[in-house]
């Protein structure tokens, strides 16, 4: 019986992220529009877009290979699993043992790998530009991500997210410089990974400046729906990750009752909403950087996270 309840909660969590992610995207868009004094589309618009895309016919390039057709599902699956692994409202769920930071990095990396391949597959100029830029960004974002994960693991003594989140709620953590560095680096990586301003612009129509959008230009119909949903899930995943590691308060502990779970879920939605507003504020107040500034930006993230890890080693040796 307990197993069934646990399973139910775990599945609820998985579907919660899936259902919430378009809302988060819509929310960020709405806040951005309001900041520009526009009315903006309804927050439900991403759902309508997905429904419309799913109904539409798929237009495939003549020379598209099987990879091009399979990639959207792979990307979606990997991202969904990654997003579902992050403890959103409860720690110690049934599958929490596999919510490992390294696994998370691997899942996100695989999704990107397939997307970059798909961008190259059809052989259009834009896809190639997008893939090459994406890989350039990834070559710096991935090591930075790993460094951030190492500092977290060194502090909490585990790479399991559930354990880290639990540890972060104990007074043992204290104020740590390396944690602050990891947070800043994490935010920078999250911005780059999610193709947000100033690294990329998710709303641009300028083919020549695109990164993520350039890779998916050739997609249509349900394939595009999968990729759009995966992009929403990725944004949600990063916000949840920042939430569960750096503001873990209110997470429902192991064996918490239904009421506790509901409260935690509500709090989680609140955290996402606040995160969305902050993201929109940041994006509105800054212009996109020149492509060749991105390595500097991510280099700073990498250095910060590296410094955090080094600091941990140094302080430990004393």
């Amino acid at each position: 019986m307990a197993l069934i309840i646990d399973l139910n909660i775990q599945f609820t969590e998985m579907f919660l992220v899936l259902l919430l992610s378009p809302l988060l995207t819509g929310w960020v868009r709405k806040v951005k529009a309001r900041l520009l004094r526009r009315q903006g589309p309804s927050v439900w618009q991403p759902y309508r877009d997905l429904a419309r895309l799913l109904k539409k016919e798929v237009v495939l390039a003549e020379n598209a290979s099987w990879l091009f057709r399979v990639a959207p599902y792979l990307i979606f699956a990997a991202t969904w699993v990654a997003a579902a692994l992050v403890p959103t409202f409860a720690t110690g769920l049934l599958f929490s043992w596999c919510a490992d930071l390294i696994a998370l990095a691997a899942l996100v990396g695989s999704a990107r790998f397939f997307l970059a391949l798909a961008g190259l597959d059809v052989g259009t100029g834009f896809g190639g530009i997008g893939s090459s830029r994406e890989v350039m960004i990834a070559s710096l974002a991935e090591p930075a991500t790993l460094m951030i994960f190492f500092s977290l693991a060194l502090i909490a003594g585990s790479t399991q997210l559930s354990t880290i989140a639990g540890f972060m709620q104990t007074p043992e953590v204290g104020l740590r410089v390396s944690l602050a560095m990891a947070l800043v680096a994490m935010l920078m990586v999250a911005i780059a990974e999610n193709a947000r301003i100033p690294v990329d612009n998710p709303a641009t129509h300028l083919e020549l400046t695109m990164v993520h959008e350039a890779m998916v230009l050739e997609y249509s119909g349900r394939h595009l729906a999968m990729i759009e949903l995966a992009a929403s899930l990725k944004l949600l995943m990063y916000l949840s990750l920042v939430g569960c590691v750096f503001v873990p308060w209110g997470l429902s502990p192991v064996g918490g009752g239904l009421a506790r779970h509901l409260l935690a879920a509500g709090l989680y939605v609140g955290k996402l909403a606040v995160g969305g507003v902050l993201l929109a504020l940041f994006e509105t107040s800054i212009a996109k950087m020149r492509v060749f500034r991105v390595p500097e930006f991510l280099g700073a993230a990498l250095m910060l996270s590296l410094l955090g890890v080094l600091l941990l080693f140094v302080t430990r040796s004393f």
């Binding site: 004094r37 526009r38 834009f126 129509h205 509105t284 212009a287 492509v291 060749f292």
Partner: protein, 506 residues
Amino acid sequence: MATLTEILSAATSGETPRGWRRAVVDAEGWSRVAAALGAGEGTLMGLWGEPAAVFMAVLDESESAVWILSLNCPEGSFPSVGRVHAPAQRLERTIRDLFGLQPVDAPDRRPWLDHGRWELAQPLAAAPQAPAAEMPPYAFLAAEGPNLHRIPVGPVHAGIIEPGHFRFTVNGEAVVRLEERLGYVHKGIEGLMTGAGLERAARLAARVSGDSTVAYSFAFARAVEAALGIEAPTRAVWLRALMAELERLANHFGDIGAIANDASFSLMLAHCSVLRERVLRVAETCFGHRLMMDRIQPGGVTHDLQADHQGVIRGLIDEARRRFPHLVELYEQTASLKDRTVGTGHLNPALARRFGAGGFVGRASGRGFDCRRSLAYAPYDELLFGAPIVHRGDVNARLWVRVVEVGQSLGLIDQILDGLPEGALTVDSNRLSAAAGEGLALVEGFRGDILVWVRLGEDGTVERCHLRDPSWFQWPLLEAVIDNNIIADFPLCNKSFNCSYSGHDL
């Protein structure tokens, strides 16, 4: 070698029309003028054809005069100007496409406006022909190397803009060569003009480029008036300037926002769009059309400014003066935005001078030419306004010229409202009636100098009318500007030029 002035003076046919000079030259004279242009004397302002003649407009800076030279070419060929003076090349290719006149020894023999989709080849020639069955594919200029690849962009773009094809050759992110291909929105306006009555011709002129409709109507009206030897009433002239400045304001507000938006700084676009919309609504209130299309006619204007509408315009000016400085400050203080615009897309002043780049493109690269001042026409000869000249030549400079011009236009509108004379709106219609003649007018649109040359027939219809958009000399510079920049900065450079597709393709 004789100077341009000497060559031209020797060629003059005695009688000189007001404000401009006219000469008929022979092939040798034509070549000498071309050589002088190639040597950097004078500025080529236009080059156009007729079934059996070619025309060239040359600005002689030393005398602040525009010369119209014509060369009769019964053999169907004329000495190429583009051979020694690159800015003429696309114009010559156009002459060949439309009239079938061959520029002898021209370096570039590819078609320009004709994409092989017209029902006639050389449609404006004395005897148009059936098109060749199959036009060979357009040969883009070569750029070869081990790491180069080509990116074709357009003619259909992702945004809602006009069609144009851009062929980039890039090495990674760096642009090695950009080649433009235009002509997708060729509407045959010059063909439609031929034989049209004045009223219809004025409507056509207003539709060459929608964002400059006032400037085009203004230029066409002035050209016709010059041909007929009449002058529009002073009140009409002042109202024309008022409309022209309102149009400039609206376009500059739109451009400043759009440039920032291409660096993904949409906040600026949102605020500038509000200002632009205010200008358009004031235009609607005062002149009954948001873009003020067809409000200027040969002989005068169609709409008067009601006394109570003066207050509406003053309100707009006050609002712009209140709000715009904050936007400029926002631009100046957003380091991330300045980082994108400063140093990007540098236009060499020597190139700007050689191509006679008008408007903000020229003024941002040290070429101070402004028709309103250099070839002053009423009422600007009575108004006070500065001449912003910047030498940096980058996107930031082009944006700054616009910012200064906004202030300038606000000041001009103030002066126009203060000094607006009373009087009639149009000349008597019988003075507009049939009389043969040639007329030339240059009007400063928001992009730069618009040249209109018209020849009226005895029956009062247009025999031939040529409208030259400033973009003709700005598009080629865009190709030069993007060299050694990264491809992701092209939209920013392009928007800072904001050339007209429609005005260029005619």
